[in-house]
Symmetry: C3
Subunit: 352 residues, 3 copies
């Protein structure tokens, strides 16, 4: 019998099944430096131990997305090695900051299945949970992905589609223990804007762009132990090009959003995310944000902004998310505008 | 009002103005490793904690240039986002070693202004100071830069040109607390040459060359949170090429200088620096040094060499800094020889 | 006299000579992260401090190959700067895990010499030993390399060819202090296969491939302070291409071998190694392994597999090491099959 991992196919999943993913991984200060060399991040909390301490955090957290990418990467060999496409995320919450020394492990429960009408593939819904070495939940999220069938003749499972919230309810947001923005240093953080300065519906063009290089996206993706071969092996795709990991675009866009959202220090939740177009080395990526909601929290001086973060190939100063759909002229959801790479809906914590 | 940072233009600066730069940044062992993957550095003090302890240092410092690049990078969004050119450095001193765990913040005072006769731009002189989390000065330096005017009709400020030393006086050099080279291990350090072995006027061809790659210069520059878009975005320049950050060439040349200057362990001061030509991925960079001065210090066994460090595109075994100026045939300063990328004047500490 | 290092030529070596190599280097968590960004490694022991503790290790070791590359890199300026070719390794043993904070130094003793019949070069045999800051042996190995003569008229030394073991004897394998696999978590480690599941003669195709990029192999090689110019300088070779450091292929193949050998957690010894063909950026590297031997050890639950690890350019599902030699049709050793880059013989520790 082959000793290598063929990955799971659609018919290998059952609702209720729990998968413990390999391998646990310890986060270190080396990850913080590597992240800083790969993304133009400047948020003061993950950048500065002194700033983090000044806002009440006992230890110096790394960027939430470092934890997310590591935790997510673990699910790839079991969940999406035979994926056609990653379809969406929901209900992702960051339960406590990840700090150097933490070891993350991830497990997933299958919470839904729906075979496609073509009989060749199906959608698998999983809820994944990353815990630290003390067994405390660090991050959890739902994700659904279209996976090939190994055997097209295999019977279709009963269709189960989980109910997933369109967005994490503001009252369910988790603020890190001790976080206190009441003596927040806006000068050190780089911008004067606080919660009340952002209007719902406001759009912010983050101005700066970064041209993707072949080595950088691979180094980032490899750092998360993500093994999807399309990112690393030019022989794995008919076009001979390495596809950029979607999470690379998330991190890049989040870092670019510093310019205009410098005080949106911490990611508290990811409500939804769509990778709307593939990206490749040579593409120049820009970002813009739209304010979707703003709320206060119970923590001193801490508010939350719900933001849509959009990454584009080439700068779109008009910040257009969707084109008009000429066939309907109606209220129907139109297609994403050309150039849109990512549409991410998340909550960030910001001084109130 | 736009929430993004447009940077300062020439008319935004006033003499005496103090700018506190964002964002503080903690130095880690991850930075040491990243630096070692990007530059061929082998100086024994930053390479080895055991060697550093053996020469009296309480903690294991990182390369001085790591501190310098981080501290410098913070000034970019406020001082040089709208720069035409970086014109020079002076009076840069390293006041104490930067060690992992230190958080650096930078502030700058405007110490001079001179509008150009064309009325389109002007020269801004700043003195910048980087402090650690205890408020102690880590590095300070003067720098002048040519900055665009936003509005050409804006009135010219009174011209103030600061007096800056041509070189840091040897008696003002700062030797790190505890440094003692009296039991220095030349074998471990890699070369037998001490202070007295270097003659003023001597030139050293460092032999080795490194071909610049697109990813490496960007990773380095990003690590320092330097946001100048010309380094990262091929759409930011008419030629569609990413300009290599001048500091990348400084670090590369300093690392190459190990071969012949292995015992020039610590950078104590930077007297002057000129980036004389742009560099791009694909260029192969070599370095040579000229001994400008040599002195003893009060610290046991510690001498100081004043060195000119020259980086070139392509190897120049003749080590020619300036071409003959055919139009004058006189003592006038001639232009830099073709291929010269960097002319840096600095003080290094070396066993006496 | 020139202050730069010309390296040693064949006639500079004498049997019995001991060379202390520069420069000591401290291993950090930054190296672990850098390694993880450059190689797709997922072995649970170096990945997770918690897993390492669960198998009895007091501190969290880095990959053995990090120690090996650092220790090996130190020998390059003295032993192989003027090498024609690296010919082989033998008797490499890992005496104790290398952990962050350890400072490695290397010395070499010349144990053999044989001038080539052409009088232009000769083979130098050295035994190198890397010690930590406490003077404890971390790694030792023998290596032989063909080195140019400076002066072809120099007299040939007496030929001395050391006796080197074809493989480290199983009874001489060193198991790290405290290692105990009796409560090993196969789920966390990623595969169910233990010692008894591997048959001598069995071959494992590791399936995945990685396309080499220019920046990544250079960053890796530079991290080990390996200064061989052919890796970094396109002007150093007539074909204008950077040769990939052979150790980069070793690390890449070892990481790829996770898929099928996930429980081969620790490298205990390297018996032999040949870099059979050069590799360049753009090549896509795959790996396969052959089980050469399997033994139990005295440590609880710890077995050892002797493995042949083969890296290839392009995937060879037939896993052919050597082509038939048409000129003989006999039992004579035939040439390596086209595409074979590396043939490495090593011992790994695995749950029994």
């Amino acid at each position: 019998m082959s000793k290598t991992n063929p990955g799971n196919f659609f018919e290998d999943f059952q609702v209720g099944q729990v998968i413990e993913h390999a391998t646990p991984r310890t986060v270190t200060e080396g990850d913080r430096a590597a992240y800083g060399s790969l993304y133009p991040t400047r948020f003061a909390v993950p950048s500065s131990a002194a700033f983090a301490a000044s806002v009440g955090l006992e230890q110096h957290p790394v960027e939430e997305l470092i934890g997310f990418h590591i935790a997510f990467g673990k699910t790839v060999p079991d969940v999406s090695l035979n994926a056609v496409a990653n379809l969406g995320y929901a209900e992702c919450r960051f339960h406590r900051p990840v700090v150097p020394g933490d070891t993350l492990s991830t497990k997933s429960e299958v919470i839904g299945l729906k075979q496609n009408s073509n009989g060749k593939s199906g959608v698998v819904y999983v809820r994944s949970t990353a815990t630290n070495q003390r067994g405390e939940v660090a991050i959890d999220w739902a994700r659904w992905v279209m996976v090939h069938k190994r055997n097209q003749a295999a019977a279709a499972p009963e269709t189960v589609i989980p109910e997933l919230a369109k967005a994490v309810d503001a009252k369910n947001l988790i603020v890190p223990k001790g976080l206190d923005f009441s003596a927040y240093d806006f000068t050190a953080a780089g911008e004067p804007h606080r919660l009340a300065d952002y209007e719902v519906g406001e759009k912010i063009d983050h101005v700066d762009g970064v041209t993707l290089t072949e080595s950088e996206h691979q180094q980032a993706t490899r750092l998360w132990q993500n093994t999807a071969k399309v990112h690393f092996n030019v022989e794995a795709r008919p076009d001979g090009r390495n596809l950029v990991y979607g999470g690379h675009i998330i991190s890049l866009a989040r870092a670019l959003s510093f310019n205009g959202l410098a005080n949106a220090q911490l990611v508290a939740a990811i409500n939804a995310g769509a990778h709307t177009s593939p990206a490749f080395a040579g593409d120049t990526v820009y970002a813009w944000s739209e304010v979707l909601d703003r709320v206060e929290t119970d923590a001193p001086g801490v508010g939350a902004l719900r933001l849509r973060l959009v990454a584009t190939k080439g700068r779109d100063e008009s910040m257009t998310l969707r084109g008009e759909d000429p066939s309907t002229g109606s209220g129907q959801a139109a297609k994403y505008a050309p150039g849109v790479l990512l549409d991410l809906d998340y909550w960030a914590l910001i001084p109130a």
